[in-house]
């Protein structure tokens, strides 16, 4: 079994190990989860290094390639008669996403150190979920991809329904159902690709050689793009996000907003745009319009929110708009911006939700007006919260700027197929979000952390514990490193995005 399969298997084995531990030994369970995800982190670093060793030489040839190149491939026939293969491997985009997932799940486990109710089941489902996520990012057979996608979506129902807060059943139901509707669209699209290609295969490295007629692409592209758009919070299909995120427990919010929402952008790039370039060209103006709404509307929506989690969820809607906006510009810069934003937003929003969980664990409220002056009693949490906030408003030096600047430039530079004026107008509208984001981030954070301490009970609250410090510190470090030295990250993803853009 190759190293890439180990990436998928290790979380699952960890889940099994958790399953076999007696439920009363919650300390042991936490440590198993932490060690398992820690090993995953090490393995991710190894895979990144291996990928880099092999891919660095190929970057030059990628400039003109029309097919992406897969590394560390493992290909085992599975259902040969149906054209289903167990095909896993990595390219630059999936390496980036795997790094993101590893960091988020590791910090997520640390942030859930204090889960007391049904600890065993919680970690078990969490690890099953993350197995699915890794599977999605690593599999290059559409059937396998879809299977892992469902594995990633379904445990969410239990995780929110059981360990959530507030109207959790409603939120869990809504989230799962909306995502399933999305995946139904995706499934239809995938089956169409399977038959339409005439090859009867789900293998992505073969499907990309198929010639799909323009008519076919016209119908299938929106199917897949909208299907992934649901999980990528495409307007107006985003409403599961505020409810779902605000009801979910900390680690689940982190994982969901941080990683699962990225499956949307990832699938849109990997499947929709890559396989159906003509469809993408036809539909891009419409999706550009919708994602512009996403960006501005999410930002305005966040201004008035009173609950910290709703606040962050709306901000996620706005930031995920950047991802799909970048994809819809159909240019190298836009795609790079989209992938960077996926990474950056993943880390940032993971940090946000992690911190909200930590603050909530202390104050037992998430309502912004009820808090105040917390910076005095929890300086560490306040500092990291501010760094997350600054990343979200696109401060240079943090990763958000690297992503947003690329998306804005891509929108402004346009592409050869669409009206430049149209794209530039939309971009200018989208830039408005930088002001609105500053408004809600600063107002929200100031109310929570600054000013005099509002409630005398807050005087005795404690600052972050060591697991919490490690978790938040790691996320902040990632934001800063990508923000200050974006070069390596850009190099990582650029080579793999070039073939995609060359096909257009």
């Amino acid at each position: 079994m190759g190293i890439v399969s180990w990436l998928i298997v290790i979380p699952f084995l960890t889940a099994l190990a958790v399953l076999m531990t007696p439920a009363r030994a919650s300390r042991v369970i936490r440590w198993i989860a932490a060690i398992g995800t820690g090993v995953e982190l090490v393995l991710t670093a190894t895979v990144t290094w291996l990928y880099w060793q092999q891919a660095a030489a190929d970057v030059a040839s990628m400039r003109t390639a029309a097919f992406f190149k897969l590394y560390l491939v493992e290909r085992v026939p599975w259902f040969e008669t149906l054209g289903i293969t167990y095909l896993v491997g990595v390219d630059g985009i999936s390496v980036a996403m795997v790094i993101l997932t590893s960091i988020i799940i590791f910090t997520g486990v640390l942030a859930s150190w204090n889960v007391v109710e049904r600890t065993k089941e919680f970690f078990c489902w969490l690890l099953v979920l993350v197995t699915g996520v890794f599977g999605v990012f690593l599999s290059f057979d559409l059937f396998l991809f879809f299977m892992f996608y469902e594995v990633a979506v379904l445990p969410m129902y239990l995780l929110i329904g059981i360990w959530g807060t507030g109207p959790k059943e409603y939120a869990a139901m809504k989230l799962t159902l909306m995502l399933l509707v999305g995946s139904a669209f995706v499934l239809v699209g995938m089956l169409a690709l399977y038959h339409g290609s005439g090859m009867h295969t789900f293998d992505l490295t073969k499907l990309d050689h198929a010639k799909f007629s323009t008519d076919f692409q016209f119908w299938v592209f929106p199917c897949i793009f909208v299907g992934f758009g649901v999980i990528g919070a495409l307007y107006p299909l985003h409403t599961w996000s505020p409810d779902g995120h605000s009801s979910a427990p900390t680690a689940v919010s982190m994982l969901h907003a941080g990683v699962l929402m990225k499956l949307g952008g990832y699938g849109a790039i990997r499947v929709a745009v890559y396989l159906l370039p003509d469809g993408a060209k036809w539909w891009a103006p419409i999706f550009l319009f919708l994602t512009t709404i996403n960006i501005v509307y999410g930002a305005f929506g966040a201004v008035m929110q009173k609950d910290l989690k709703y606040f962050t969820a709306y901000s996620s809607v706005s930031h995920c708009g950047f991802v799909l906006f970048g994809v819809s510009t159909l240019s190298l810069m836009g795609m790079k911006g989209a992938v960077t934003q996926m990474f950056s937003h993943g880390i940032m929003t993971g940090l946000f939700f992690g911190l909200i969980g930590m603050v909530y664990g202390r104050t037992h409220t998430r309502i912004i007006p009820e808090m105040g002056g917390l910076a005095k009693v929890m300086p560490w949490l306040a500092t990291t919260f501010y760094i997350a906030g600054l990343a979200s408003l696109g401060l240079p030096g943090l990763s958000g700027f690297v992503a947003e600047s690329q998306v804005f430039l891509a929108g402004f530079f346009g592409n050869p197929w669409h009206s430049l004026t149209y794209m530039q107008t939309l971009t200018v509208i989208a830039t408005m979000s930088i002001v609105v984001t500053a408004v809600y981030v600063l107002i929200g954070l100031a109310k929570v952390f600054q000013g005099p301490i509002k409630d005398p009970h807050f005087e005795h609250l404690t600052d972050a514990t060591w697991p919490e410090r490690i978790a938040t510190g790691m996320l902040v470090a990632t934001l800063v490193v990508v923000g200050l030295v974006p070069g390596p990250f850009i190099d990582l993803i650029e080579g793999s995005l070039m073939p995609l853009v060359n096909r257009l």
Partner: protein, 668 residues
């Protein structure tokens, strides 16, 4: 790296050190010293800035050694590296651009910052956030230096934002004080709004620069060969300010609605500059920013950060000048702001607010000085930079002096001070030097730079601006002496003022140094150091300008003594006589109220809230409606499912029979 650049002196090739030292210090102080040994954080931070000042001095020395005073001063980029690659052929570099104005600002920023750091060791002594304060102060200095040395417009934007955020952090330093929190938010949001314009301007310049790069780039690249360390990039200032490119941008083919694209882009960029430099109507954040600790006001909101806007206009001056209309906008906004702020400054009671409005007014001066210049008449350009130079010293001195006073009497209101002349002799003396300098009294520095500006306005064919400048000069002298008289002369108006005592050495030493600089800075032969284009700047004193300017200053001083010496009854009577007009001025022409109205009443209430409502009810309502429909249909159909197996069986059998019948009848 091209050969010519590699041959440059060591210190020029490594001029990045000037920004890197504060950065390293920021990281070290922030991560190590602040939590562990905050006591020495101040010393380390201060030493690092002095080191940076040393490097800046070395850079200046070598630069003017290379290009002696009086000769042409070309811009060189001795160091740059690729930071972010947008796409092949479009890369953002981070690097160092050296030309007269960046060298000038390096000197000003490092020296003022070093002195302010030193002063803060005394001023912030015993504060619980001592380590945090110096962390932020180092961050600010790093960002400001990064901004100054930026060789391309995106680097300037990057550091522009960083400067904004460090200013935000420092204004909100006393984070438990609601007014400080509000002020910090206001500062950040207002400047961010301005930066929106800047960003769009950058996008326009970047896009059109990039598309024209294939044609114009090689020409420009040939011209700058040997002067830059990397390949020319479309975002580089050397490219963006080249006349060939500007000609393309100004072409009628690109005009939008009759206005050339260049003008639009430059006005948008100027919007960013106006935000940072607090030009009307984006000035509202600066007076509130005085909520920060006083050394911060001195460093950021008087001497360095607020001149970033002026610096940006100067940096892109060829583009503004090429457009012409954009430069006129700069001039009008600058001139209006200088008068507007001076009028408000006459009525304020908080010593720091008076100084803040005075800063606004002087920034307006610098702006309109740029506005009256042109590529073939660069006197205004030189004069503006000259004023920036002298203003940094005397305004920092004024703020630090005010800080010493506030430190001693624990209040900001000038009406609770008085008679501090004897209690705080050193502070008094230095404050007086600064007041005379800003009032434009010969032979202090302010006289020379103001004189240059007024001369440039007159010669540039803008008599109205010249007249306005004279009026502002008189008002400046008036309000500065107003606070001088009230604070230092007369009798103690409050018991605090009676118990005041002189500041400690670490605080008055920077005051003394700055006083010295404020006194002699005017004698620098500035025109031979800083200029643009062919003609050297205006030299020497023109009596046709100096006499009216000095008269205006003396009139202002005289009026201040007339109204405020003694018990100030005459001033009260004057204010009462003005009645409503006085109140309007005192409330700062109600601009803040207007902003509040627009943001809260219009944007929050009529945009954000409806959107939040719409999302919860309309968009989400659709989702819930589909859920409801499904359940409703389900419960309707559910009536068929009574839970009785046998009933199901009957349906099954009946259905099968029915189907069979249908098939059978179809078969025959």
């Amino acid at each position: 790296m091209s050969g010519a650049v590699a041959a440059l002196p060591f210190i020029l090739r490594n001029a990045w050190l000037v920004a890197a030292i504060p950065f390293v210090s920021f990281v070290f102080v922030g991560l190590v010293l602040r939590p562990k040994v905050p006591r020495i954080a101040g010393v380390v931070a201060t030493l690092s800035i002095f080191a940076a000042a040393g490097v800046a001095g070395g850079v200046a020395w070598e630069y003017y050694h290379l290009f002696p005073p009086g000769a042409l001063h070309p811009a060189i980029v001795p160091f740059a590296f690729e930071w972010l690659r947008f796409m092949p052929g479009l890369t953002v570099t981070m690097g160092v651009l050296l030309d007269p104005i960046s060298v000038l600002l390096l000197l000003v920023v490092t020296s003022v910052s070093a002195l302010v750091h030193l002063y803060s060791i005394g001023y912030m002594h015993g504060d619980p956030g001592f380590g945090r304060f110096f962390t932020f102060l180092n961050l600010f200095t790093f960002s400001m230096l990064g901004l100054v040395i930026a060789p391309n417009i995106l680097q300037i934007y990057v550091f522009w934002e960083l400067v904004g955020v460090s200013s935000f952090l420092l204004i909100g330093y006393y984070y438990e004080k609601p007014s400080a929190v509000a002020a910090s938010k206001k500062a950040f949001i207002v400047t961010r709004f301005a930066d929106l314009g800047f960003l769009i301007g950058v996008l326009i310049l970047g896009y059109n620069g990039y598309t024209a790069f294939g044609d114009v780039g090689p020409t420009v690249a040939r011209e700058v060969t040997g002067r830059i360390a990397t390949d020319l990039q479309p975002f580089d200032f050397l490219y963006l300010t080249h006349p060939d490119l500007l000609g393309r941008l100004a072409a009628p083919a690109l005009a939008v609605g009759g206005v050339s694209l260049l003008t639009i882009a430059m006005i948008l960029v100027f919007m960013g500059a106006a935000g940072k430099s607090a030009m009307f109507p984006l000035h509202i954040w600066l007076p509130d920013a005085m909520e920060g600790p006083t050394p911060v006001s001195a460093l950021i909101h008087a001497a360095t950060m607020v001149v970033a806007g002026v610096y940006l206009v100067a940096r892109l001056f060829p583009a503004f000048a090429f457009s012409g209309d954009a430069l006129t906008v700069v001039m009008c906004v600058g001139a209006f702001t200088s008068l507007f702020a001076a009028v408000i400054g006459c009525t304020q009671d908080d010593i720091k607010r008076v100084l803040a409005f005075s800063t606004l007014s002087q920034l307006g001066y610098m702006m309109f000085a740029l506005g009256v210049a042109a590529m073939d008449r660069p006197a205004g350009y030189t004069a503006s930079m000259f004023h920036l130079f002298t203003h940094a010293f005397f305004k920092a001195l004024l703020f630090l002096g005010a800080g010493a006073v506030i430190h001693a009497v624990h209040t900001n209101s000038i009406w609770e001070m008085g008679a501090l002349r004897r209690k705080m002799p050193i502070t008094h003396l230095t404050f007086l030097v600064a007041t005379l300098a800003i009032a434009g009294v010969w032979p202090l520095s302010g006289f020379f730079s103001k004189d240059e500006i007024l001369a440039a306005a007159l010669r540039g064919g803008h008599p109205v601006v010249f007249g306005l400048g004279l009026l502002v000069a008189a008002l400046t002298a008036f309000y500065m002496f107003r606070i001088y008289i009230v604070v230092f002369l007369g009798r103690a108006r409050h018991e605090h003022a009676e118990h005041a005592h002189e500041a400690p050495f670490v605080m008055w030493a920077p005051l003394a140094l700055l006083a010295l600089l404020s006194a002699v800075a005017g004698f620098v032969p500035f025109g031979s150091f800083v200029g643009i284009g062919a003609e050297a700047g205006h030299e020497g004193i023109d009596l046709a300008v100096a006499i009216p300017a000095s008269t205006a200053g003396v009139l202002g001083i005289g009026l201040a003594f007339l109204l405020y010496s003694g018990d100030g009854a005459r001033a009260t009577a004057g204010a009462n006589a003005l009645g409503g007009a006085y109140r309007v001025v005192k409330r700062k022409f109600y601009v803040d109220e207007l902003y509040l109205f627009v943001t809260h009443r219009i944007i929050f209430r009529h945009i954000s809230r409806p959107i939040a409502w719409f999302d919860r009810h309309a968009v989400d309502g659709m989702v819930n409606l589909s859920g409801w429909t499904t359940r409703r249909t389900g419960s309707l159909l559910g009536a068929l499912h009574g839970g009785r197996v046998q009933a199901y069986g009957v349906w099954l059998v009946g259905g099968t029979l029915f189907l069979l019948l249908v098939l059978w009848s179809a078969a025959f």
